[in-house]
Symmetry: C2
Subunit: 501 residues, 2 copies
């Protein structure tokens, strides 16, 4: 493909994508394909001879598109949003065109420095304390990781390394290997699966502690867990607080957890993957009260800040904690800038290689501006509140707990079975996509405003689809004997609050 073909093909691709977004309401959110559908459509071997770009786009339309779950559809209300915007796509296009790998400052100074600057910008927008920023006097700073999963694991590994170093200062003869087996990590039972996975991957026992009635991990619970473990000769090492849990978007109180961690020299990491984005609006910052106690903080700019996956924004109070844990110095990577101020980001992350990801963050910050991003967050929250109002106006529906950010949880007052059937029927119809979780032992459906394209009209359309399905279920209930729910067993359900009980 030469440059003139690339020009033509890129134009056609852009038109295709614009057409996809402009007409996304005409598609079902969920695809109508069976497992293996695509494998059957494609040949068993790569083509021997080159194909032209028209064939690529034709195959894309015929083979790929029918198998898409349309995350950017205004009727996608599952999980949490995944960011995408034209601004971000341009940023990534620039990154791909440059085709560099920025593992050291020298490997592309602009790649490192733009990351420093944009992470300072974003950190300030979020209202993070200055000590998390590279532009402060201290050793803090931000780094773009691939995912919140990665950030949680990076912080866990750094916490482990730091704890061992501290213990060895007290006892230089300490057996590192044996001591590490005594380290314990803590989080709430409401955590994302990736937090639990970080414990598995990082070889640290991860206790999922009971949350309160509102899905929050309380200080008292953490303190008790520390005491129990210490009594058994174990060593508390790492705590993950969740600001915006996956199930019901609850917020652990940092002001309670923080002093307990500080008291025991335990690393406190904040997983604010989704809801952290809201802190760009000052009115939500009360939810991160106690942030000054935190060692590391992560929010996925690729969730609710319009940046395409992957762009997980992580800040640490002390960059040397990462460098100490991840620096496997080889001479060939030696250069003069191995400090936190002009960071060699390969020491701030697990892999060696890294893309020029700050370009897409920069594009979004510039092309939306701080005010544009705040408007976006506020608008999404107001759409969720509008949905809650619609659901509350129908007395068959119970909205509980209180809507949080872009999430509204609801159930049918008739109980779990019919609520589960409602979700199953809706999923089968493929027009709206939601997933469930449990709240206080009850099965609830999660409605999340995900797409940036969602309007008030779209919320009404989603609500009408849901309401009509409920109508039919209630009608059937009146007309017929109870249905089996054996087919429901594969429905997706979010984190169960009772998991650790």
């Amino acid at each position: 493909m030469d440059s003139s073909e690339f020009r033509e093909c890129a134009k056609a691709t852009v038109d295709l994508l614009i057409n996809y977004i402009d007409n996304i309401r005409d598609r079902n959110v969920l695809p109508s394909v069976e497992p293996g559908y695509l494998m059957k459509m494609l040949p068993e071997n790569a083509p021997e001879e080159p194909e032209d770009w028209k064939t690529l786009l034709k195959d894309f339309n015929e083979v790929v598109m029918p198998g898409m779950t349309n995350w950017q559809s205004p009727y996608f209300h599952a999980y949490f949003p995944t960011g995408s915007s034209y601004a971000s796509i341009i940023g990534n296009l620039l990154s791909d065109g440059l085709g560099i790998v920025g593992f050291t400052w020298m490997a592309s100074p602009a790649c490192t420095e733009l990351e420093v600057v944009t992470m300072n910008w974003l950190g300030k927008l979020l209202g993070l304390p200055e000590e998390f920023l590279n532009c402060s006097a201290g050793p803090g700073g931000g780094v773009i990781q691939g995912s919140a999963s990665e950030a949680t694991l990076v912080a866990l590994l750094a916490a482990k390394d730091k704890k061992i170093r501290k213990l060895k200062e007290l006892d230089p003869e300490l057996d590192e290997c044996i001591t590490k087996t005594k380290f314990v990590a803590y989080t709430s039972e409401q955590c994302n699966s990736s937090v639990e996975k970080a414990g598995v991957l990082g070889s640290m026992k991860m206790r999922l502690l009971k949350s309160d009635q509102n899905g929050r991990l309380r200080g008292e619970t953490l303190k008790q867990a520390f005491e129990e473990d210490e009594a058994q000769g174990l060593i508390p090492c790492y705590v993950v607080a969740n600001l915006g849990t996956t199930g019901i978007c609850s917020f652990d109180p940092l002001s309670e957890l923080g002093p307990i961690c500080q008291n025991k020299n335990v690393w406190l990491h904040v997983d604010a993957a989704y809801a952290g984005a809201a802190f760009i609006c000052p009115e939500y910052r009360y939810l991160m009260k106690g942030i000054e106690y935190v060692d590391s903080f992560d929010v996925n700019a690729h969730k609710w800040l319009l940046v395409n996956f992957d762009c997980s924004a992580m800040w640490v109070k002390d960059g040397y904690d990462l460098i100490n844990a991840f620096d496997v110095q080889r001479i060939y990577l030696d250069d003069v800038n191995a400090t936190v101020k002009i960071p060699d980001y390969r020491h701030w992350q697990m892999p060696l290689g890294r893309r020029f990801r700050s370009l897409k963050l920069w594009s979004v910050l510039k092309m939306y501006g701080a005010s544009g991003l705040r408007n976006f967050i506020r608008e999404q929250i107001s759409l969720a509140q509008y949905f809650a109002k619609l659901a509350q106006s129908d007395n068959r529906f119970i909205v509980e707990p209180e809507p949080s950010m872009g999430l509204v949880c609801f159930r049918l007052e008739k109980g779990d079975k019919i609520t589960k059937q409602l979700l199953k029927n809706l999923t089968d119809k493929k027009q709206v996509f939601m997933v469930a979780c449990t709240y206080r032992g009850r099965y609830v459906i999660r409605f999340v405003v995900c797409s940036q394209y969602t309007t008030k009209d779209d919320v009404e359309i989603s609500w009408n689809v849901i309401k009509n399905e409920a109508n039919q279920l209630y009608q059937k209930e009146i007309n017929a004997k109870p249905q089996s729910i054996s087919t429901l067993e594969h429905l997706e359900t979010l984190t169960i609050c009772e998991k650790s009980k």
Copy 2:
């Protein structure tokens, strides 16, 4: 940015990128900026109000471009190549436009299935044994990881998990934590830093074993290391063989290492990050003789196969080894396809989220075709051989060891000091970029054919720059007393063979 602005901006961005590539020879490979240059150019805060796309591209040209190390320049001969092609950029543009996260089959069937198909295609092109492919009868299959670093760590964690399970079958009372501290991993001193880092991150002692005179880890050395460790009560668990080491692109003999690993039930992983790409040409497959003993194999399609970073292609003989290690089942991620045939790739990797990366691999495979990719590899190797011939024709230069793939190592016959000075002067001039390594105790400069745009003329240009610099050095030597080399201390040098000696 609405769709019409996006159309305009994308067109301007594509023109900018084409212009960058078309005129890349006019730029120095290395930038002329000081640390902190960009931080000084940008404001301290994100803009409050949105900026238009023209400002973005203007700032990109003025702020970012001057700080680029141009990896796609035909005169970039450092490290190993990083892939980029118009075909790949189109694939990624499609991925960004869809804006999905494919962690389960249901989260986008096309995302999962296209990855299965393209990894089968690529596995076949490479001549991997059928049992590594998803389309075989067994539980093997391919998965796209973010980097070779990640693949090495994923395999290490899977090896650890598998070893514990096997040991627990023999002794159900086994203390897992204590036993894991006895596990040992092995690789050659010639390994990439990321392999050593995998040991640190995965909490497993990683022994860097001595390689032979040709930089290869031999069976006898591995066998002896196993015996030493077992005699001390340690447990060999994981071996990383390097096919194409970072320093001199040497190949560990799998046919020697394989039976030793098999005999002790030790996981054998192959890091073929760069050179693995050459196996698409049957004439190089003799270098992977013994591949049938291997448990996992990784090659970076984003290095030498024209796919943009990140696309690290990893195959395992048994997908359940990954699933067992990485599956932290939560109900909300439950669906009916948790098998290796229709994989839920979240259980094949560390993070939960994942991009639609197979689109760029698919684009490249289709738009180059198998024949196009083979031609590309062969052409790059022939350019390296041409450079070797040029260097050999000058009796001040010694080419040693034998050129391997796209890599030619050379030194000045006058010794390390002047060779080091040569590299320093060339780096200071910024026209060609190379890094060094040591070979048999000698300092050698690595010349790698990296850019897809490199032609025979470009090789001659690079050679002339190098030769002229040598001329000047030799002239100076005649005219003056010896120079201090104190300023040379920050020059980059690749893996030192003698590291573990």
